[in-house]
């Protein structure tokens, strides 16, 4: 049966058909839907972990115990999981182990655009790159075979355009769940130096075998057509190349690490000139150049952002002295300027209250990763740093130690899911090293940015089964933080008083701003209206940056269709001009 699947859904399907028994991950765009999709196969045990390192380690255990195992994360998640990854390469697997790394060229929803194929080389594990949903399913299944045949974890590397594009996929019958026997083998799985040295030798021998395999596998396809030039490419770039040059000779690499020198040289010898087309790093190009071949890659194509069929066509045509396509930009000439439509905090978002107060108090705010990073944008603009998951707390401590004058003004802001991901160790550091910082945990009862996934404090698992909900306040107190207070961020005056009080304190404080995401639970019913007789048009309410409050013909208005009725603007208004629709005027 043929169905339409996204790359992410296809990977889940491929894992299911290949007899996967265990799947784990942490949500992160563009990888999230793989595990959300795997839930539909009840025979697979699947879970969200608090972070990618733990997810990877759960996967390590599952593999060693005998199951075929899938672990999923976004590209920066692999940084978090890099520690177990690099040593699991040494031990190798029992049940097949596949790590999905979902990279984000163009940074549609990420803080950087690192190219994780480099992790494949660093960890010395094979890297597979599917070019569409059909291959995403096939390669996922193939990756488990390779993993077991070569005793290695395998990276299945996708990019946003593969993850989030739908294509036709032919479904197959699943094999039974693969369950290998567990046999204790300390020399293989206990990586003390003496055993590690033995395993390193095994890894290097394995790479030689994989190079051999790279020259034979059907994952890599050579198609010789027009011999004037040939293109070496992989992943989504293959589609751009086919779109731009249907008649070109192509070496399509389904396995991009390691490469077979014989395969590449055979291809190059059949064409007059070779181009390498790849997004981000010159990963293939560097290896091909070390084979002694002369190719053009990053001389023509950018290191930054995504490629496109049009770009491939234009760059190679120009290089080959061929005619370029006509300019289509004319339709845009003389158009009125088009206002941007940036993402914003939703009406009724509890984060808005927090950033409004932080801006008002002129705090130095170390931020973190989540919806609340939007607090950095106008008009709130209440964020000084955002680096990676969990960084807010360590960064706050470092700022305080480096610049004591800032100490009383620094607030670390971190979401609930992010706190579990990697904020706890930062808080321990703050306590241990006598910090005096204030940590604001924005507890909206979900992992909002990636589409509302469960986490350790929601009381539900990935499969929506009830479970123990970790108590954030109890956890923080248990670490030894004495000043712990919970507040509803919509109680604006109390929130402000608390932030003033806690930043002034001479010890670590944790404020838990607790209110569910506005998309999960509507804060209140109804909508707000402005009493025109009282409004002095001071625009103080507009400082909230709420999309429901708009300037129309110079006057402030509230759009009842999107107003959430959260009551925040009423508290900000100095003249009492805003009230809930239908409520009596005082």
């Amino acid at each position: 049966m043929k169905v339409l699947l996204t790359g992410n859904e296809a990977i889940a399907r491929g894992a299911y058909e290949a007899g996967v028994g265990v799947a784990a991950g942490y949500p992160g765009t563009p990888s999230t839907e793989i595990l959300e999709s795997i839930v539909q196969y009840p025979r697979i045990y699947s879970q969200w972990s608090p972070n990618e390192k733990v997810a990877f380690e759960v996967g390590v255990g599952a593999s060693i115990a005998g199951s075929r195992t899938l672990v999923t994360m976004k590209h920066v998640g692999v940084n978090v999981a890099a520690d177990p990854l690099l040593t699991f390469s040494y031990t190798g697997v029992n049940g097949g182990f596949v790590l999905v790394s979902a990279d984000d060229p163009g940074m549609h929803s990420s803080q950087n655009e690192q190219d994780n194929r480099r992790y494949g080389r660093l960890a010395k594990i094979p890297v597979l790159e599917p070019a569409d949903s059909r291959e995403a399913k096939e390669f996922a299944a193939k990756a488990f075979e390779i993993s077991e045949a070569f005793d290695t974890p395998v990276m299945l590397r996708i990019t946003t355009r593969i993850a989030h594009s739908q294509g036709m996929v032919e479904l197959a019958e699943p094999v039974p769940v693969v369950k290998k026997e567990y046999i204790k083998n300390a020399q293989k799985y206990v990586m003390i130096p003496a055993y590690g040295r033995i395993r390193h030798t095994v890894v290097e021998e394995r790479t030689e075998k994989l190079v051999q395999y790279a020259g034979e596998t059907e994952l890599n396809v050579t198609k010789i057509k027009d011999r004037k030039f040939g293109i070496i490419t992989s992943g989504i770039c293959y589609q751009y190349v086919k779109e731009a040059f249907p008649q070109a000779s192509i070496l399509k690499l389904g396995m991009t690490y390691p490469l077979s020198q014989k395969l590449v040289k055979d291809f190059a010898s059949q064409v007059d000139r070779v181009f390498v087309v790849e997004e981000l790093e010159p990963f293939l190009e560097e290896t091909v150049v070390t084979m002694g071949l002369k190719v053009d890659g990053k001389r023509l194509f950018p290191l930054i952002g995504e490629l496109s069929a049009k770009m491939v066509r234009e760059k190679i045509n120009r290089e080959m002295g061929l005619a370029s396509s006509p300019d289509e930009e004319k339709t845009r000439e003389g158009l009125p300027s088009i206002p941007a439509r940036p993402p914003v905090l939703c009406p009724g978002c509890p984060h808005r209250a927090v950033f409004y107060v932080l801006k008002k108090l002129k705090m130095v705010v170390t931020g973190d990763i989540g919806c609340y990073t939007l607090g950095a944008l106008p008009p709130l603009e209440a964020m000084d740093t955002t680096i990676c998951m969990g960084a807010s707390i360590g960064t706050a401590l470092g700022m305080e130690k480096s610049n004591p004058e800032l100490a009383k003004r620094i607030v670390a802001v971190i979401g609930d899911s992010t706190f579990f991901h990697s904020g706890i160790t930062g808080l321990v550091d703050m306590l241990y090293n006598k910090g005096k910082g204030t940590v604001l945990i924005l507890d909206n009862s979900t992992t909002a940015m990636t589409g509302h996934q469960q986490h350790p404090a929601t009381g539900k698992t990935l499969k929506n089964e009830p479970t123990e909900a970790v108590n954030i306040a109890g956890l923080v107190r248990g670490l030894g933080v004495k000043r712990v207070v919970e507040v509803d961020p919509f109680e604006l005056a109390r929130l402000e008083a608390l932030i003033k009080e806690e930043t002034a304190a001479e010890e670590v404080s944790v404020i838990i701003a607790k209110r569910p995401c506005a998309l999960l639970e509507k804060a209140a019913s109804g909508y707000m209206v402005i009493d025109e007789s009282k409004c002095i048009n001071c625009k103080q309410c507009m400082a909230l940056g709420c999309p429901a409050i708009a300037l129309r013909d110079g006057r402030v208005t509230i759009n009842p269709e999107i107003c959430n009725g959260c009551n925040l603007c009423t508290q900000v208004c100095k003249v009492g001009a805003i009230r809930k629709a239908g409520e009596d005027v005082e």
Binding site: V3, L4, S109, E329, R332, P336, I338, R341, M542
Partner: protein
């Protein structure tokens, strides 16, 4: 019918752009065509500009419609139709709802929502259909079905059998909204 059709569906987060694209891709699948549909989610969902690419034909490679390549742009909001205009083929067609959703810079008074957008577009493209889909959808009982009214208009232009569209709605729309959506679709389908 062309042997390859490139469509761009554009709107604002929350308007149902992605669901509309899924229905469209389903129609291609049911018709035995190769089809690819590409979307971006993540930050864009938070009230941002949303675009999905749908390509159908004998064999589709790149999932993306690039500048100057769209046969049809289906827009659920005026400003978005203007924003993506340069993606239209010189002889391409625009179908747009006349709904206005102001972006935050406009709300904040930092930018101006251009006036006379439909007229501006009319002067630059050969084929344009604009309609108040929101009003039609409200008439059918749910303003949120305005995306499906516009799908109905598009359906007439694309030429697949109406039964295939209704089957795609069956497959993709949640059961409790199905009746309203079929009504809204038929409204659009009978319109032009």
């Amino acid at each position: 019918m062309l042997n390859k059709i490139n469509l761009l569906l554009v709107g604002v987060g929350g308007q149902g752009t992605i669901l509309a694209s899924k229905i469209l891709a389903e129609v291609a699948l049911l018709s035995g065509l190769d089809v690819k549909m590409s979307e971006i989610h993540g930050m864009a969902q938070r009230g941002g500009s949303v675009v999905t690419h749908v390509k159908m034909g004998d064999e589709i490679y790149s999932p993306l419609v690039e500048k100057g390549e769209a046969d049809i742009i289906l827009s659920f909001e005026q400003l978005e139709a203007l924003r993506w205009l340069s993606f239209l083929k010189p002889d391409g067609e625009i179908i747009t709802g006349t709904q206005v959703i102001e972006p935050v810079p406009v709300i904040m008074g930092k930018a101006v929502y251009p006036s006379g957008i439909v007229k501006t577009i009319q002067g630059r493209v050969q084929k344009l259909i604009s309609l108040d889909a929101l009003a039609f959808a409200t008439e059918c009982g749910n303003a949120k079905a305005s995306n499906v009214v516009l799908m109905g208009v598009l359906a007439r232009r694309l030429g697949f059998a109406k039964e295939i569209w209704l089957k795609a709605l069956d497959n993709k729309v949640p059961a409790k909204f199905l009746d309203i959506n079929k009504k809204a679709f038929t409204q659009g389908y009978e319109l032009v």
